[in-house]
């Protein structure tokens, strides 16, 4: 596979079209909810992420709306699929692992049990200009989580 095909793996192109978790959904009563709007001024990509958590610090849902490249949109879709039922701690662990992969410049063999479809983003790490695209939804989800309240 050439570098471009590693960047645009089929699973990424599929997610960029399916956009799991988009558009935003109405809030559920009784849950904690938080929202974050993130913007990449370099390319104009933007995303609004809404997360909901229960009283035991478990995510129950992530929904989002955004405008951006296939990498940023696919990353949001993958995360929205993965997030429900994770605890805050589990999410932060995966976030650290994902970021480590993104900073690896391609020298990384991701554990698919940890990252699921997000493992496909390993090819992105060879393109430093695109790492921000892949991280955008993760950053938004984390900010939304910290701001979550009833």
């Amino acid at each position: 596979m050439n570098e471009l095909d590693q960047l645009y793996q089929q699973v990424i192109l599929d997610h960029s079209k399916r956009r799991i978790g988009s558009p935003l959904v109405e809030l559920t009563e009784g849950l904690l909810h938080g929202e974050s709007h993130q913007h990449n001024p370099i390319c104009g990509d933007q995303i609004r992420v809404r997360v909901e958590l229960d009283d035991q610090d478990h995510f129950t849902s992530m929904s989002w709306e955004g405008d951006g490249c296939s990498i940023s949109m696919a990353s949001a879709s993958v995360l929205a699929e993965m997030l429900p039922e994770l605890t805050k701690e589990e999410f932060l662990g995966k976030r650290d692992y994902f970021r480590e992969m993104m900073r690896s410049k391609g020298n990384f063999e991701p554990d698919e049990d940890v990252l699921e479809d997000a493992a496909a983003f390993v090819g992105v790490s060879k393109f430093p200009a695109r790492v921000k695209c892949a991280m955008l939804a993760w950053v938004a989800a984390e900010v939304a989580m910290h701001e979550a309240h009833k």
Partner: protein, 433 residues
């Protein structure tokens, strides 16, 4: 070459053979990117530099480096000569007198120089001589909706600082300037009209005469953004009849870090300075200072001497080829781009079809984000710009967040354009849309 107004005359374009010989002067264009020959179509962002430009800088450092306008030693004298000779060369290139050309870091600084000088005048600096540059509540600054942020934000800030109002000439949904609204928008309240000569996104050439005529009628100052015109068209500031013009060296084969502001002599000499300090004064005591006339009054601190020499070398290089012929070649490439891209299924070009344009064309591949388009093209060695190109209001008016922009220069061949057109034909298939 110095009598034209920016509308290219029907000069014979460069021949394909000449372009090949020109291209050979650019070392970087012989390199490969991602295993393929580089096709550089991002000159609107910054141009590549011929060997003679950086060799001139090297020569300066090896033979003449010293601070200018101070020191009596031989090197200082030689450095000063090189620095002032560069001014003369670049001033002549745009049809200005030597003392009407102020060195700045780039066009952005040149535009900010006017903006801050006018704020200073509005605070009373410069006295009665600077009355013309004062702004206050009730006064208006007029710009346009298609400006680069560098010709918008300095005027927004000037309006905030002085209480003046910023207005703008809107564009149509195709991106054409609404000249028909000029009479309505330019009134006795208008003190300054700032507009671009060539849109950095659309590549379209402004009918500057309409702006100048409207401004003259009410005595408003005119500021032209020449960033995308001076590198690509014959430009003569006297024929254009503008009061100020800003441009950047790095977009016209010169080094980064050097640009210039043209201003009419009598205006520059009446304006209070922007940056102050060494080299721009005559007499200083502990309470106040007297300032040099233009251009020195705007050149505080140690200047970018090697860069001015590099830029003058670039200008001599362009002058030898002839800007009229450069413009004719790029008009040809621009038409190839516009027509070629228009014909590709699922790709839409932006900008009015009937406009005069340089070799700059923005487009959208339907269903594929510009960032992804740029990445795909990069894998084939083709360098283009993606994003909002520092013109968010323009993109908003076009109804998009971002575009992909191809922009040429004199070293681009027809083969470069064909490579882009061919690659664009397969983008949608690659991304499965």
């Amino acid at each position: 070459m110095h009598t034209m107004t920016g509308q290219p005359e029907a000069l014979e374009a460069l021949t394909a053979g000449e372009v090949e010989r020109i291209k050979a002067d650019f070392e970087i264009l012989e390199h490969q990117v991602n295993g393929v020959d580089v096709v550089y179509l991002d000159s609107g962002a910054t141009s590549q530099k011929p060997r003679c430009v950086y060799e001139a800088e090297q020569h300066y450092y090896e033979n003449a480096n010293a601070a200018v306008h101070r020191g009596a030693h031989s090197l200082a004298v030689e450095a000063t000569e090189i620095y002032e000779q560069a001014r003369e060369t670049v001033a002549e290139f745009i049809g200005a007198r030597t003392n009407e050309l102020v060195w700045t870091a780039n066009a952005t600084e040149a535009l900010n120089l006017i903006s801050y000088s006018m704020s200073n005048a509005s605070l009373g600096r410069g006295g009665e001589a600077a009355a013309r540059f004062r702004l206050g509540p009730g006064d208006e600054i007029l710009t346009t909706e298609l400006e680069h942020h560098a010709n918008l934000i300095p005027w927004q800030e000037l309006a905030f600082r002085t209480g003046a109002t910023l207005r703008y000439v809107p564009i149509t949904e195709d991106g054409a300037l609404r000249y028909d609204l000029l009479d309505e928008l330019v009134t006795e309240r208008t003190k300054l009209v700032a507009f671009t000569h060539v849109s950095n996104v659309l590549g379209t050439i402004t009918d500057t005469q309409k702006f100048v005529d409207a401004a003259r009628k009410v005595g408003a100052l005119t500021v032209l953004d020449g960033c995308q015109s001076v590198p690509h068209l014959p430009v003569d500031v006297k024929a254009l009849d503008v009061d100020f013009m800003a441009f950047s060296g790095h977009k016209m084969l010169g080094p980064t870090g050097i640009g210039a502001l043209y201003g009419r002599e009598e205006l520059l000499n009446a304006m209070p300075p922007f940056l102050t300090g060494g080299s721009m004064i005559t007499v200083v005591d502990m309470e106040h200072a007297e300032y040099m006339p233009s251009p020195q009054r705007f050149e505080a601190g140690t200047q970018r001497i090697a860069q001015t020499h590099g830029l003058a070398t670039a200008v001599a290089y362009l002058d030898e080829i002839g800007m009229g012929r450069v413009a004719a070649w790029e008009e040809h490439l621009g038409a190839m781009l516009y027509e070629g891209i228009s014909k590709i299924d699922g790709v839409r070009v932006f900008g009015p079809a009937d406009a005069q344009r340089i070799g700059t064309v923005p487009f959208e591949v339907i269903g594929v984000h510009p960032h992804d388009v740029g990445q795909y093209l990069d894998s084939r060695g083709i360098a283009v710009r993606v994003g909002h190109h520092c013109a968010q209001p323009l993109h908003r008016a076009l109804g998009v967040n971002s575009t992909t922009r191809a922009s040429t220069y004199l070293y681009n061949t027809e083969a470069d354009i064909k490579a882009l057109l061919e690659a664009l034909g397969s983008v949608r298939e690659y991304f499965g849309v």
